[in-house]
Amino acid sequence: MSYEIDPRGYYGEYGGAYIPEMLHANIEELRSQYQEIMADPSFQKEYNTLLRNYVGRPSPLYLAPRLSAKHGGKIYLKREDLNHTGAHKINNTIGQILVAKRLHKTRIIAETGAGQHGVATATVCALMNLECVVYMGSTDIERQAPNVARMKMLGAKVRPATSGSQTLKDATNEAIRDWINNPHDTHYIIGSVVGPHPYPDMVAKFQAIISQETKQQLLEQEGRENPDYLLACVGGGSNAAGLVYHYLDQNDVKIILAEAAGKGVHSGHSAATSILGSLGIIHGSKTLLMQDKDGQIIEPYSISAGLDYPGIGPLLAHLISSKRAKVYSATDQEALEAAIELSRYEGIIPALETAHALAVLPHLNLKTDEIVVLNLSGRGDKDLDTYIDNIDTRSNFQ
């Protein structure tokens, strides 16, 4: 089984570029050049220097003692929350802004759900002095106010997406429409391993720094590169793709993904794509997505704005359907409890997205010597309002 992308942009049967002709020139320009640009030594040098001196990489790999004592095994946290801007998202935006510069683009657009990718994009645009427009669903603008303020502080324009469920998928539609309207000067920085080829591959390769560092760090701390488990939350799937990238061919490493079950997988308010989804096309990619019998895309739901995406990146769809990865789901309630647990046990407040991965730990039934690397993909500052509401309204969290 190969987990590499094939020359036409597919992982197994997933992927491709199902785009209208209006996007063809843009996508083709990127597709024909991204590998060469990324392989160029001057690009690598600039990318790695920025990751080290600006983002603060390598991010620590931290053995969480009290969490390990609670759930068994040795639980390592890959601290992407300590990156500049507070999540893994900046690994990709640093890479893509350097690609955009080499394509001589002067204007950047992006979509955002929780706002982490929007902030990471606004940040690199400020750094590189490029115009930045971020599309964000109106619903998300309301529930992620601190990140909206951050983007504005950084000089980005935040444009509300008012169609559909007014969340991530609609923000993505709006960004795509913007790109159709501005085909010459604009680069679209997609925030996850979704969209038409070459985006899933390019974003996965920029996030692969996570697993590259993990191998090295685990070797130093445990004398082995491979953990028993890798664990990450998955919406579109970029932090998961980064965590597993260099481990895909290592079959002794089990890959566990955590999806958002919302109010329950079959409650009608869920974003559990691997269970509720079927093969189709979303945002230019053939993958698993939530849809009805006529192919209308179903609005997902999760308490976490970064996980309520109705699809999943084609690489992840391939890993799931080929059984290379196993998926668990966590409800809103389980994620909230896991976030509070990590805060109280380790002094780390995780993002709500990441909390879904933490909520899966009890399902692994870890043996004492088993090693887990959990991608702590983001910090929880943006979610404090949600956390506080729940602590205040539920006495067992006091």
Binding site: A17, E21, I281, K293, G295, Q296
Partner: protein, 258 residues
């Protein structure tokens, strides 16, 4: 010869193609709208299959699509409506929608429903030409269903010729780099693009769409191509209409009067 080939064999200029979203403004308005369009002198109907995520469409068609879905529009009903139209009319009907709709309905079931109901061709903007050649071309031919591919000012000459060769219905000339519904006047660089296409000796009939919204833009498009497609502006007319047939007759008359 199918209905589209018949049309182009007897009429080669000033072809008027009007887009309307099935199930809009009300669920069962489709038949009345199509018949009124034919009565007014429209040559081709582009019938939109409303979709939840219409990537290439601007606000107006997003709105009509969302409204049609909220009205309860679905594909089985759309094919019923086409059948009802066919009891009274032989006007060429082209379905416009997105690939995911066809995949979920089932490719062979979809194509059978098209040929059984009397659909003549498809416009699927996110169906890539290479996927069409591999998996759709033969099956669509055997069902007698034509296809139109889109070309834009950015389309390379190589792709232009390929789109021309593959487009068995007509070549859909996207007039500008934009989503649908952008009502600006036609600019010089667009004219140069239309002229370039006119000089290429393409084999498929050419219809210009996107941004065509009044007599002036319609006439300009017709000067450089076999005809034009009006979508968003027609939906705007329906949106403010109190008598659909009357609105349609008067709107089409404004395009055609000289």
């Amino acid at each position: 010869m199918n209905r589209i080939e018949q049309l182009f064999s007897r009429k080669k200029e000033n072809i008027l193609n009007i887009y309307t979203t099935a199930g809009y403004p009300k669920l069962h308005d489709t038949v009345e709208i199509v018949l009124a369009l034919e009565q007014a002198g429209t040559d081709i109907i582009e019938l939109g299959m409303p979709y939840s995520d219409p990537m290439a469409d601007g606000e107006t068609i997003q709105y009509s699509s969302a409204k049609a879905l909220a009205n309860g529009m679905h594909l089985d009903l759309l094919f019923e409506q086409v059948k009802e139209i066919r009891l009274k009319s032989e006007i060429p009907i082209v379905l416009m929608g997105y690939l995911n709709q066809m995949i979920q309905y089932g490719q062979s079931r979809f194509l059978s429903a098209c040929s059984d109901s009397g659909v003549d061709a498809l416009i699927i903007p996110d169906l890539p030409m290479d996927i069409y050649e591999e998996d759709y071309q033969e099956k669509m031919k055997s069902h007698g269903i034509g296809i139109s591919f889109l070309v834009t000012p950015q389309t390379s000459e190589e792709r232009l010729y390929k789109a021309d060769t593959l487009s068995s219905a007509f070549l859909y000339v996207v007039s500008q780099s934009s989503i649908t519904g952008n009502n600006k006047n036609i600019k010089n660089d667009q004219l140069q693009y239309f002229e370039r296409l006119a000089r290429l000796n393409l084999s498929a009939p050419r219809l210009v769409g996107f941004g065509i919204h009044d007599r002036s833009t319609y006439e300009t498009a017709c000067n450089f191509a076999n005809g034009a497609i009006i979508g968003s502006e027609f939906i705007r007319q329906l949106r403010s209409s109190e008598d659909l047939t009357a609105t349609i007759l008067s709107f089409i008359a404004t395009l055609k009067s000289s």
